[in-house]
Amino acid sequence: MTNRLRIWLNASGIGLLSPLAIVLLLAFIAPVLIMFPTSLHPYTPGVGIGEGWTLENYVEIFSDSYYHEVILRSLGMAFSVMIFTIIIGCPLAYFLARMQSRARNWLVLLVIFPLLLNLVVRSFGWIALLSKHGLINDVLLSIGMIDEPLKLIFNLTGLIIGMTHIFLPFMVLLVMGSIQNIPVDLEEAAAVLGSNRTRVFFSIILPLSIPGLLSGSILVFILSISALVTPRLLGGPTYKVISTLIYDEFMQLLNWPAGSALAFVLTLIVLVVIWATGRFSKRWMAHLT
């Protein structure tokens, strides 16, 4: 090790990152690098990974309309979940952030409660509520609001409902943190200058909570698009999103090459989303702080 490098290592404190770096390297980067060659092998039915090298797996993803449909559906689902968590989460986050009373801690606990429940139990709860003969359809039928059961599950609606429920806490907590950093003075100043509460929210609170809103959105988007168990249970065996498709390729068809190619496409989508949001937030944050 050269002297200069040693000095830099000591001064920057970057050595403190080494435990995490080693774990990430072994548990995350290495498997990814091992998977990449797999995605370039052909698939032999009944056997699995075939001999030789090919780009076939990637070409198929970009040319096969079935893959297109699944990818678009996944993007649409993740985007919808993100939008719904914003619509439901922002007012809630504002309410919690501005609460004076001690009850806030309990309410925040209530918000994160879904995360404490077992994933499978939670999903079966939704199945009980949303299925053809579930509680919601039964009630709506009995009061005569509908004539036939609504299809609320094993389709996009079911996935969005279930995922919004699970990922709402992430949005609420991040946006709440952002709003807590906005001085109440700003809201009062806007009110004194003639803004009613709605206008205060849209002209002051919303723009200033963009940092939290963006991190919340990225998180919810990525968690939604890569979630496996919930889409599997609420989507059923036939209604597939990209993550359940990857699972099936690996575990049912033993098509590791196609599965890993799909996994890399998913990773690419996620990276593009993070990069784009990062650029946007950087430009926005330039005015603040």
Binding site: D185, A189, A191
Partner: protein
Amino acid sequence: MPALSIKQLRKTYGATTAVDSFDLDVAEGEFVSLLGPSGCGKTTILRMVAGLITPDSGQIVIAGKDVTHVPVHKRNVGLVFQSYALFPHMTVFDNVAFGLRRNNLAEDKVKERVITVLSKVRLEGLEDRFPKQLSGGQQQRVALARAIAPEPTILLLDEPLSNLDKQLRMNMQIELKRLQRDVGVTTIFVTHDQSEAMAMSDRICVLESGKTQQIGVPEDLYHRPENKFIATFLGRSNSFTASIGKSVSGKLVQLDLDEGIQILATASDKVASSGKVHVTIRHETVKISKNPPDKSKALNRFKGKVIYRAFSGSIIDYVVTLDDGPEFLLEATNVDGERHALPGAEVWISFEAGAVLVNELGDQ
């Protein structure tokens, strides 16, 4: 018709009474300060006038209209916060235009008004800056411009100068006062800084524990305090307890300080009754000299020794212990730049009978 009329205003938080039976009439264009120590209720009153706090009882009338139950965004008041509360995501222009746009003014009118107001606070050319790119003084002026842009009926200032350093604060005092006179807007100024209040106000209302102690022009408050609180709160002074002695002549009365010396004070209603009184003698009214002063010039004169001297430029502070009496704190003007009366020096102190402020002793 007063621009602002407050009647029997009251606000309590649990068991504490923040504001109690508060009355105030402010004339059109007048500059009135609410002055008091922290927690005296002055900011609560201001926020009730703005509509940010709802009073328990009482009435607030702005320009003849009862606004007690009008929501904050419909009151058309201007408010400058101690923190300035500029919108960090908006340019100076958008900050100042904020209130105008809420009034649904056409955009060219908005632009015209913003430019006019920014030139009034001498911030031309900074329209496109963001608040964080401005100095404290500039931010302060943007806050002021934003508040006066929609031509509010009343301008409310909540300790707007307290975040500035001393030099800048003096300059802003002058600028703020000139702007206020120029615009002619009725102004309520909340401060805990008495010299700021006295320098800027037409009238001052001194508050303590949510109650008005005295309202009046600064000179009246300073020279003719109505009670012990005002006498000791304003300026720097020596406080004593005394009993009223014999009347010396029609105009003078002798007071026997508890510390064992006798002083002469001007007779008034307050000293007419016998018994214990509170005596206040301001630092700057006490003179210090090497030789005994002429009896005709100073009725009260005592010999003592300097125990402390602090030179701070234009003034010099002294602490003098009288030979058989209390300590006196006094403030002398630096006239010749010499090192007079160093600690240990034998000196004379003197003050006029008129400099002795006498008030009822009160509860304490």
